[in-house]
Symmetry: C2
Subunit: 135 residues, 2 copies
Amino acid sequence: MSGKEIRRSMPLFPIGTVMQLTELSARQIRYYEEHQLISPARNQGNRRLYSLNDIDRLLEIKDLIDQGVNMAGIKQIFLVKQQQEQTNNEQQQSEKAKRELTDDQLRHLLRNELMHSGRFNRSTLRQGDMSRFFH
Amino acid sequence: MSGKEIRRSMPLFPIGTVMQLTELSARQIRYYEEHQLISPARNQGNRRLYSLNDIDRLLEIKDLIDQGVNMAGIKQIFLVKQQQEQTNNEQQQSEKAKRELTDDQLRHLLRNELMHSGRFNRSTLRQGDMSRFFH
DNA sequence: AAAACCATGTTAGATTTTCTGACATATCAT
DNA sequence: ATGATATGTCAGAAAATCTAACATGGTTTT
């Protein structure tokens, strides 16, 4: 829920950039927002700011519209997808729980060794790396 | 030279976004441009548009300035880095050349098998995937 | 067929953002 | 003290965006 997600949901792009990236008109983009298919952030001056996720969503919308789906349809599709993700997460969750038990055992087994392997884990500090904002 | 690079050098961000991302003032960002440490694209209306690479560069600049390096110093550092990359590429190039010879042989060996393995390589068309613009 | 609805275009006026160029200023080296 | 460097700040102009309203060509519904 952190890391990647924070970055992909970071509000970065003004509507002009989004228009070019998606080849949608400002009118269309705002209209889809009106119908709650997206909800971009706003900056201090009330201008919309879109995230990578928003843009993905707009591309999906565009595609569905090309298939003849209307607003209501798209809204439902997104709902289903969201629920799908929800259950996916729950599955992962429970699987993870199982795994964690054995992981605990593993950790236990490894502990002694580590206690004697005086090795440091220096964190690599690289600078000027925009990738921290994405992926 | 294509793919990734095109994306990371795609002009996307207005100066306001870049200010937030880098915590530099507009004045600073323009000043560095004046000294040719960066050269953002311009849109039709003459507004600057920065790429991910530009932002990386600005973060690097910021860091160097924190270390007390001045414009001239930073310019030189970038020059050296660029040359470094150049020679790196050349090395890779010549290594690749070598490898390609053996690859040719490999291809040769595989050709017959492939000629008989009537298998199709359907390209996966996924939609609404912003990742095509990045990484 | 008429009326209503949907998705989008277009326009207008207000507000925000960005642009360039100029002048101001603090810090540092000479 | 003088000058250079890096940045702040201001002003006026141009561009981008905002909201709200009206216009319109296709679809449905009545």
